[in-house]
Amino acid sequence: MSVNALYDYHHESRDKVENFHGMQLLYVYWPHHLMYCSPFAFLVAPDMTFGVLLEEVLKPAVAAHPDASKANFLEAGWQLNGEPFTPDVSATLRDSGIDHKSMLTVTTQGLDGIAGSAS
């Protein structure tokens, strides 16, 4: 469906990738760790490697969680936009198929949050 309007109604997306000055948005969701209330929103460079994303972006973001030190994110189960995904630490985000406003979901089996409450 589309907007019911008095004239031909069209508007450009406010969040198209061109508006991010060469950077892009990336969301990361770590299920069963709802102490972080929602997936993270990161501003990242498309030529950043996956390894740098893990070490310099994701790990600092989750550091305050008691499960963080136990999590092996490389060995974890990954999804990219709902599809299975195999991370390659040396590949860039662009080469990994991670485009603007993509969402990564990383599931660490056996880690179920604070006192097993999925928090």
């Binding site: 969301y27 709802l34 209330c37 997936p39 973001a61 936009n81 603007h100 928090s119």
Partner: protein, 515 residues
């Protein structure tokens, strides 16, 4: 001509002073005078069928409104003269008022603008008069709320720049975008959104149990403006119900359009009320009823009766009502968790509930609180005690439609977020639920324009790239005064000093840092 001294009865008076004041245009076409009346697809065949059950005329309107104002301002004066702020249950309560002043009062002003506009859009005189009165009411609400809270502004932080914050602060984009969505719709959708779905179905949850809670926490000024505003609301609600019945009775083609609007605006309102749920369960030190109990009375029971009444028009209860009803056990805890962890970017303080408050929550939410939330809160309390008060230093993903961080969980699995994602014209969009995703899919051109605060910060449109600069420079939140943890804050110290619990001369500088 015989002089007739007899008073006009209500029906005649209403007829003479509203409908009879209108006229049929003679030298302009009606559709040129009211160009916005038909593009939404709503068919009106006979405006004279419009009913105003209160039959209120402008003369009676001024008389009763003046009486309400006199009562209200007498109480404001008494409250200020007696330093009423010293008699509230606890200064944590004032944080609910900060949220109210920056989140709700500007909506009253937006409603005033909305009704002033749509009143002009209708060719029916009855609808125009009702919208005119409501526009004036809403302006009154916006003003009286600011007057009531100006007293608190003299004694507590975070109340100094509400209108500015409403336009900019991340979580205030939630109420702001809600009303902007309604105000940019056509006139009939606006009435369905605000008069019916919001006023009739949902505002009771804000103005009745929360205001009763304000009274229970010793806040005479707020309960008085709340109930004074709500006395207008009874009229607005009646208008809301009459609007819906009128539209539905005019033409059967209107039914599916109205149903879609009810579905949309119920869901949008329900999401918006997550904030009120948290105010009820976490920001009222003396509890009146839980959010779940309020939802049961004011939505499930009253809303249930309403939708049963509307069945005869072919209207069913809102889509995803089952998800909303189930969420009453979760949303207040999820919202409070969110504000707690982003408390460095709010104009109010956050805190963890004390032991007896946790027990109250466990008792009121027997199926969810201990299982999903209590351990999280106890962990945060422990961290705070050990000098590591938790703040989330990464910005959250926001829902494209309701603009709330995507914090809500699945009805059938509260351990998983109910995230939804679609592609539209080559771009990915993210949502908190099927409800919000459906709204996007109906009108994507509208929601691709969403001004999402997180994305705006990342685009460099908010005066700085780091949270501290955005919060202080762009939001006008005074760092160390208005934001962060309540315990040890200047407000907390001031409160202790008011209560004589601790000698405190320097209620100015709590030394806190975000983790």
């Amino acid at each position: 001509m015989p002089v007739n001294n007899k008073k006009l009865n209500l029906k005649d008076k209403y007829q003479y002073l509203t409908r009879d004041m209108a006229w049929e245009p003679s030298y302009q076409k009606k559709e040129d005078i009211f160009p916005n009346e038909s593009f939404e697809g709503i068919k009106i065949t006979d405006w004279s069928q419009w009913e105003d059950p209160f039959r209120l005329t402008m003369d009676a309107y001024w008389k009763y409104q003046a009486e309400k104002e006199k009562k209200l301002y007498a109480i404001f004066d008494a409250f200020a003269q007696n330093n009423g702020h010293q008699n509230i249950s606890d200064a944590r309560y004032v944080n609910a008022l900060k949220l109210f002043l920056s989140g709700v009062s500007p909506l009253e002003h937006a409603a005033y603008q909305g009704y002033a506009r749509v009143g002009r859009d209708f060719s029916g005189a009855g609808a125009r008069v009702a919208c005119q009165m409501q526009a004036i009411d809403e302006l009154r609400h916006s003003q009286t709320q600011q007057h009531a809270m100006s007293h608190y502004n003299k004694h507590f932080n975070g109340l100094h720049d509400a209108a500015h914050m409403h336009d900019r602060v991340w979580f205030l984009s939630v109420p702001k975008s809600f009303f902007d969505d309604a105000r940019t719709a056509g006139p009939f959708e606006f009435l369905t959104a605000i008069s019916f779905s919001f006023e009739y179905v949902l505002t009771n949850l804000l103005f009745v149990p929360f205001m009763s809670g304000a009274a229970y926490n010793g806040d005479m000024a707020t309960v008085t403006f709340g109930f004074s505003a709500q006395s207008d609301e009874a009229r607005h609600m009646t208008l809301g119900l009459e609007v819906i019945k009128f539209i539905l009775e005019q033409h059967e083609d209107n039914v599916p359009i109205v149903q879609r609007w009810i579905d949309k605006w119920f869901w949008r309102g329900f999401r918006l009320l997550s904030l009120v749920g948290m105010m009820m369960d976490y920001m009222l030190p003396n509890k009146v009823m839980s959010w779940a109990e309020a939802w049961e009375v004011y939505y499930e029971q009253n809303g249930g009766a309403l939708f049963k009444d509307l069945e005869r028009y072919g209207i069913r209860p809102p889509k995803y009502q089952d998800i909303a009803n189930d969420a009453k056990h979760h949303v207040s805890h999820q919202a409070w968790s969110t504000f707690y962890q982003y408390g460095h970017a709010t104009n109010f303080h956050t805190w963890m509930p004390e032991k007896d408050e946790l027990d109250w929550l466990s008792q009121k939410y027997p199926d969810t609180f201990d299982k999903y939330y209590r351990a999280r809160f106890e962990h945060w309390t422990k961290e705070h005690t050990e000098g590591r008060r938790f703040y989330n230093n990464t910005l959250p993903q926001l829902c494209q439609v309701c603009q709330i961080p995507t914090i809500f969980t699945e009805k059938d699995d509260p351990t998983m977020l109910s995230h939804r994602q679609i592609e539209h014209e080559g771009e990915r969009f993210h949502f908190c639920s099927d409800g919000c995703c459906d709204i996007f899919k109906d009108e994507p051109e509208k929601y691709v324009q969403a001004w999402l605060p997180v994305h705006q910060i990342y685009q460099g449109n908010c005066d700085g790239g780091d949270v501290e600069t955005v919060v202080s420079k762009y939001y006008h939140i005074n760092i160390g005064q208005d934001n962060f943890e309540y315990i040890g804050s200047p407000d907390h110290q001031r409160w202790l000093s008011i209560k004589g619990k601790q000698p405190d001369a320097k209620a100015g500088g709590a030394n806190q840092d975000a983790a």
